[in-house]
């Protein structure tokens, strides 16, 4: 779904007040019933991540962390049955998963007397039952489960969605009998940058030559598109020539401005594909 800037702005504006909880997601869906859920979620997720990045500095100073930790400890002692960590996260507008991470790190530091390794931290977040403090484990679990933007579960979901759409893309290509090399094959050949798909024989989509296809199971907003352009798309262009990006969850329409240069944006697998004619009459 291509969104014009005004539409996009309205959605973004609305997301500003939301927290990454299932309740808020429901509000978002109810507010924009005409947009696909995935698109809305993706936009929210991107916006929320931006918000978190902006405020990261604010939350990450030792004083602030200490304050959060003490508040959490205090509250948890007072109301052991309540979701105090989640409440704290919503109160300070920090992602519950991120807050859980901060507090867990702080807790382990206190317990072990040293900073824990990232690995240990990650495994505990992934499996709160490993956390020695039962109450803390429950609160951490609550935070990661109730965060739809961050956390190991979300990472896994994102990964799965990405993979599924890549497979969807491959499936479409196979249906069209378009021969291609996928990322793994390319990597095996030693390519330094690997789009999801390289077509062995280029195609034309809406009059544009396409050598490679990248699948993005997210909404293409300005920020992420710019990042992708710099880190991926231009690199592909530099190596393989013009190509196509599919933002399965839609994109901001005005971003599709590099078509002439060789980067075409689509929100679905294109239907009008022109292929090279091998012999007379076969096309």
């Amino acid at each position: 779904m291509k969104l014009c800037r005004a539409e996009y702005k309205t959605i973004v504006k609305f997301t500003e007040q939301l927290r990454p909880t299932r309740q808020c997601m429901k509000m978002l869906k109810d507010k924009f019933p005409n947009h696909s859920q995935s698109t809305l979620l993706s936009i929210f997720s991107l916006e929320y991540q931006k918000r978190m990045k902006r405020s990261l500095v604010k939350h990450h100073t030792p004083d602030v962390i200490e304050d959060y930790y003490q508040r959490y400890r205090g509250e948890a002692a007072k109301r052991p049955a309540d979701p105090v960590m989640l409440e704290l996260a919503n109160e300070v507008d920090l992602s519950p998963s991120l807050l859980a991470r901060l507090l867990l790190e702080r807790f382990l530091e206190e317990q072990e007397g040293a900073v824990s390794s990232k690995q240990v931290l990650n495994s505990m977040l992934r499996e709160p039952s490993l956390i020695p403090d039962l109450q803390l484990a429950r609160h951490v679990d609550q935070c990661t489960i109730n965060d739809c933007c961050y956390g190991p579960l979300v990472d896994c979901i994102k990964h799965a969605i990405g993979q599924e759409h890549e497979e969807l893309l491959r499936e479409r290509l196979r249906e069209r009998r378009l021969s291609f090399l996928d990322e793994n094959q390319l990597r095996a050949k030693g390519y330094d940058k690997t789009p999801d798909i390289i077509l062995e024989v280029p195609i034309a989509v809406e009059g544009h030559i396409v050598h490679w296809i990248e699948s993005k199971a997210s909404f293409g907003d300005e920020h992420s598109h710019r990042t992708y352009l710099n880190e991926q798309f231009w690199s592909y262009w530099n190596r393989f020539g013009p190509g196509m990006v599919i933002y399965w969850y839609g994109f901001l329409a005005e971003l599709d401005c590099q078509r002439d240069r060789g980067i075409l944006l689509k929100d679905c697998f294109p239907s009008d594909i022109v292929t090279l004619c091998y012999s007379m009459g076969s096309c």
Binding site: R138, L153, V154, I157, I161, A188, W237, G262
Partner: protein
């Protein structure tokens, strides 16, 4: 020619026949046979072009010049100017006698110009293109002359003559401004040359006295008795001139009459087009000429067509025409004014543009946009406009494709270097894109805009030691973007040119020049411009200057030098004089293309090699004599980057000057002030000078004319631009003459590409009437030609190996075929071995490894070593297999590629040589590399297996009735986790958030479906794990009572059964039951029930519970609880002795690493 065109217009000759004839499909039969056989294409085409220019000359009055129709130069009898030669083609050097000089240009926008144009046409000098000459000679112009065509005359250049041989630069600089120059009307006293008998005289240019009425001539009359005779004398010539002047007067008078309405902007109207049919026909024929590249320069014609399209003149009034036709009754078809008004001109132009869409679509976007925005295009052909709109979108990709063979990790010293280079490549292209976008903007400066980033990138090169890689990229990209014009899909092109190149704006240089010409057709830069870096070359030059990185420069020098010398040696000739021509005829054209492409690339490389080599010494001012002498003493001690003298002598000896000299000139044109005084360059320059002096156009026969022309042009230019530095040049003795040629002659396209400044001569001639130039004086340098000895080269060929002898008497194509096939088959053989033997071995090794790892006490490292050794031993059969492969494939390929008539013996020999060569190549490579290859492949397999990456196809089959429509893993996880169940179970939740058994069952059902469809899931072990994990978590919540259910008491048991059923049927992967056994859940009441179910289904072993128990002991879980579990275990299920558990702690820890 005229007859042909007339016949075409009369429909006596079918259009399609003429088109076929133009396209070289000459099977002429029938009525038109005679005509099409008689007329030569190279005469017809210029005739047609001139005809079109004549036709439009009156309408095309707004442009300062019509490019193809500038007046011809004036030549004095027997004495030629350098410029004259430079724009004359080899095969039809105009006879000096044909060079009438009626051509004279006036600056007036209307009549006079056209008259002179017309006249210029007749003089048979198609100036701008330069390729076709003598059109007028055989055209209508001198129809009365019945003398046979005079052969190209040998002319002596008088180099001492200031008038004939002025230094090129002087003309332009020393001339008074055009307005101040009253062109002197010098008359060539030579008689007008002969005319082909069947061409038509043009009525207004016959020698018939003006007082007599012009009788409309017809073809028989011309054939029978034209008034022209061999006794044509100067008197007649003068009459011609008078007549022309008279015509000019008429034109000017009438154009001044009709000048007022011209102020109104003309608005062409398709409905007002007269002679549409004829225009269509003309357009078709004209387009055929363009498509077949029969015209001097395709872009020139395009320029002309665009002029027609954009003409601003209004149509002459009817009155005017009436009067005009009364004065000079044009009654025959060719005299009709087809392009007399703006409507027709635009109509014709649009027809041509439609036809030449492919050409148009390769223009830059700016031009295309201008065309799209041109309302005339839209009015006359909306379809064309639409296509142009589409064409604007075509991509401009012209990047070098990533080539694993040179670009992958194996080519780098370290991972770091590889990754840094990855970034560098991206930065380089980013800079290139930015340059393309911005460099034309006013005020944009390379240094200011990109300097910082260039240097940052280059300093990274130094860090990573990637100079050689970047230099290679840089050099290849340079060649790709700047190699200049080449025929699309030319066979001599680099083999790695893939679709990227075809898609991209190829021949950028050509377009660049066109763009320049379109934007500033009248801005002369002088006939001897200093060396420049046009188009994208500028980017590369600026990049190097800005980067100023000595390592990069050194690597580039190495690379450039290597490729340059390689190109210099490259074999260009497919056909050698000895071989039978028949089968090889097609080779000629290919050779020519190949030659062009080699020459242009070599020139480019040489220029950059020179640029880099002399960059350290460049100064804006010439250093003083003392400094210069010190510099000479200093610099002559170190070896020059290129042994120019050796290259030069070698090329002379091998008769390849036409290839080598032009690139040497490019190299030397980059010399700094002191450079020419260094002994090595000094000698080379002296040699070149001598070569230059030996050059005589026409000497050595027609076939070398273009070779000489090219050499003369480039050398003349070099000596001019390096003029101040070369004052001292003395002659050197060149052992043999360089004026024989074993290479194809350059065509004029190549000539003009190599010498764009030749175009300046024409501009000059258009702006000034020559003759006055020499009076302005200013001769600086005289060169006395010495007569050249042209001793025939003695070709003594030494007897070498037997197979070389075999090739000796065979057509060269045989050798090329054999070598090519051997090379390819050999290379394919290696790939074949890799794909078959190596992968078979590695697969076998993988199985052995899996088996080995499964057995007791396996040690991966030991297994690895022994298996690898086994594989390498087995790899030795590669040689045998390779021999078999080559023996099977090489003969087949050779026999397909050799002509049918190849004798059996030759074929067999060729086959066996090919087989031998291919086998040698393959076996050589394999014997030294097979072990490495196997080891490498094995290493990655080994790593994959030991890292227990699940084999993608192991046990991943969908159930037989699977429709692959199972819900996506991500959707199901979202449903379980974020949106609903787990999140609610974990809380916080509201009172209404309660589940029914059906709800949970439906989720479990979805999970089961998703897990059973292996199509996507096999790729998603992570998601699958997460899904299973979520079910276990859900079960935990159920067991612990956290899951809000409608009526928990009744359904928990049945739900637990559902869970266990799902897990029991899960096709793959370990289920993370350890979560279940963690402390958070273990206290709950349904726990034991669940554990019991799991053990019954053999989903959980007692050991695992035991290990949990052990772990809990470690964590000092309350002993009471532990003993409670222990007791339960003991009584209700299979019991594991308590004492054993303690001993097993170590083992169990390693068994469940996730927990620790």
């Amino acid at each position: 020619m005229a007859a042909l065109l007339e016949s075409l217009l009369k429909r006596e000759v079918e259009l399609y026949r003429a088109l076929a004839w133009l396209r070289g499909q000459t099977e002429c039969t029938g009525n038109d046979q005679d005509l099409l056989l008689k007329v030569r294409k190279q005469e017809f085409v210029p005739f047609l072009l001139n005809f079109l220019r004549d036709q439009s000359s009156r309408t095309l009055s707004h442009g300062a010049t019509t490019p193809a129709k500038t007046p011809s130069s004036i030549r004095s009898s027997g004495r030629h100017r350098l410029a004259d030669f430079m724009i004359s083609p080899p095969e039809s050097q105009p006879s000096p006698t044909t060079q009438q000089h009626r051509g004279r240009r006036r600056s007036g926008p209307h009549g006079p110009t056209s008259a002179s144009r017309q006249a210029g046409a007749r003089s048979g000098h198609l100036d701008e293109g330069g390729r076709w000459d003598g059109a007028g000679r055989k055209g209508r112009g001198g129809g009365r002359i019945s003398e046979p065509v005079s052969p190209p005359t040998q002319v002596e250049l008088n180099f001492n003559s200031l008038e004939d041989f002025p230094p090129v630069g002087c003309w332009f600089n020393h001339l008074p401004p055009p307005s101040a120059t009253k062109p002197s009307r010098r008359i060539n006293p030579t008689p007008v040359s002969a005319e082909r008998p069947n061409s038509k005289p043009k009525s207004c240019f016959t020698s018939t006295p003006l007082s007599q009425p012009c009788s409309p001539p017809s073809i028989p009359e011309v054939l029978g008795g034209s008034p022209a005779g061999s006794s044509l004398c100067l008197q007649q010539e003068r009459e011609l001139l008078k007549k022309e002047r008279y015509m000019e007067d008429i034109y000017s008078r009438f154009s001044s009459l009709s000048s007022e309405p011209q102020l109104i902007a003309p608005c062409p109207d398709p409905s007002k087009v007269t002679h549409a049919q004829e225009l269509n026909l003309l357009a078709e024929v004209y387009c055929a000429c363009i498509s077949e590249n029969l015209v001097p320069c395709v872009f020139l014609e395009l320029f002309f067509v665009l002029q027609l399209l954009t003409t601003r003149s209004t149509s002459p009034t009817e009155d005017w025409l009436t009067v005009f036709s009364w004065l000079c009754p044009f009654t025959d078809l060719l005299e009709k004014a087809y392009l007399r008004d703006v409507h027709s001109c635009v109509y014709f132009a649009v027809r041509v543009l439609e036809n030449q869409f492919a050409l148009l679509s390769h223009l830059d976007r700016c031009t295309l946009r201008l065309l799209v925005e041109n309302e005339r295009v839209g009015t006359f052909s909306p379809a064309l406009r639409d296509r142009l709109v589409q064409a604007q979108d075509t991509s401009t990709a012209k990047v070098l494709p990533f080539q694993p063979s040179t670009d992958n990790r194996a080519n780098f010293s370290s991972d770091k270097a590889f990754h840094i280079f990855k970034k560098q490549r991206d930065i380089f292209y980013e800079l290139l894109r930015e340059w393309e976008d911005c460099h034309k903007e006013p005020g944009w400066e390379f240094e200011a805009a990109l300097g910082h980033r260039v240097r940052a990138m280059v300093s990274q090169l130094t860090v990573a030691g990637n100079h050689c890689h970047f230099a290679r990229l840089f050099q290849k990209q340079l060649v790709q973007m700047c190699k200049g014009p080449r025929a699309p899909g030319s066979p001599g092109d680099a083999p790695d040119a893939d679709l990227l190149g075809v898609v991209g704006a190829d021949g950028l240089g050509r377009l660049q020049r066109l763009q320049e010409r379109l934007s500033q057709p009248q801005a002369p830069s002088g006939p001897c411009p200093p060396p420049s870096f046009p188009g994208p070359q500028e980017f590369f030059k600026d990049f190097l200057q800005t980067a100023s990185c000595c390592q990069l420069n050194q690597h580039l020098k190495d690379g450039l030098c290597q490729q340059l010398l390689q190109l210099n040696e490259v074999s260009i000739l497919g056909t050698e004089a000895t071989s039978a021509v028949g089968a090889e005829e097609a080779g000629g054209d290919m050779d020519q293309q190949r030659f062009s492409s080699v020459l242009l690339v070599a020139r480019l490389l040489a220029k950059f090699l020179g640029f880099i080599s002399f960059m350290p010494y460049q100064t804006s001012e010439a250093p003083s004599k003392e400094i210069q002498e010190a510099a000479i003493a200093l610099r002559s001690k170190s070896a020059p980057v290129l042994d120019v003298c050796a290259v030069l002598r070698s090329c002379v000896r091998r008769r390849r000057t036409v290839l080598t000299v032009p690139w040497l000139v490019e190299f030397l044109s980059m010399l700094d002030h002191t450079g020419p005084s260094l002994p090595c360059y000094r000698t080379a320059l002296c040699l070149l000078l001598q070569l230059y002096r030996q050059l005589r156009l026409g000497k050595g026969g027609e076939q070398f004319y273009m070779n000489h022309l090219l050499l003369m042009a480039v050398l003349g230019w070099l000596f001019q631009v390096k003029h101040t530095a070369l004052m001292w040049l003395e002659e050197q003795q060149l052992s043999t003459s360089g004026l024989n040629h074993s290479l194809p002659s350059p065509n004029s396209q190549l000539l003009y590409t190599c010498c764009p400044y030749l175009g300046e001569f024409r501009k000059l001639l258009a702006a000034f009437v020559s003759g006055s130039a020499s009076k302005a004086g200013g001769l600086i340098r005289k060169i006395t030609p010495t007569s050249a000895e042209l001793p025939g080269p003695s070709t003594t060929r030494s007897q070498q190996k037997l197979h070389q002898a075999f090739f000796h008497n065979q057509p060269p194509s045989l050798r090329r075929t054999v070598e090519f096939v051997a090379e390819r088959v050999g290379s394919n053989c290696v790939k074949h071995i890799k794909a078959t033997l190596v992968s078979e071995l590695v697969r076998g090794g993988e199985n052995a490894l899996r088996d080995g790892l499964a057995s007791e006490g396996a040690c991966a490292a030991k297994l690895n070593d022994s298996l690898c050794a086994q594989l390498c031993d087995a790899g030795m059969q590669a040689l045998e297999r390779a021999t078999r492969f080559c023996g099977e494939n090489a003969p087949r390929a050779v026999s397909v590629l050799l002509p049918e008539e190849t004798s059996h013996a030759v074929l067999t020999t060729a086959e066996s040589i090919t087989t031998r060569l291919a086998t040698e190549k393959a076996c050589n490579w394999l014997s030294s590399n097979i072990t490495t290859l196997i080891k490498r492949e094995w290493k990655s397999s080994f790593e994959r297996i030991t890292r227990s990456v699940p084999c993608p196809d192991a046990g991943s089959a969908c159930p037989p009735d699977c429709t692959h429509k199972a819900p996506l893993a991500s959707d199901v996880i979202i449903e379980i986790k974020v949106q609903e169940v787990l999140s609610i179970a974990t809380g916080p939740r509201s009172e209404e958030e309660v589940f029914t058994a059906q709800h949970i069952c439906s989720i479990l059902n979805k999970v089961a479906q998703t897990l059973s469809c292996r199509k996507v899931q096999s790729l998603l072990s992570l998601a699958e794990q997460m899904l299973l994990r979520c079910t276990v978590l859900l079960a935990c919540k159920l067991v612990s009572g956290d899951l809000p259910l409608v009526s928990p008491a009744e359904i928990v048991r049945s739900l637990l059964d559902e869970f266990v059923l799902l897990w029991a049927h899960t096709p793959s992967g370990p289920i993370p039951f350890h979560i279940l056994l963690s402390e958070a859940t273990i206290t709950r009441r349904h726990y034991l029930l669940l554990v019991k179910l799991l053990i019954e289904k053999h989903l959980l072993k007692e050991e695992e519970i035991g290990s949990q128990w052990a772990k809990m002991s470690e964590l000092s879980w309350p002993v009471v609880m532990v003993s409670y579990i222990h007791t339960v275990n003991q009584t209700s299920i299979v019991f594991t002795p308590c004492s054993g558990l303690h001993q097993d702690i170590g083992e169990t820890i390693s068994f469940l690493p996730v927990l620790l």
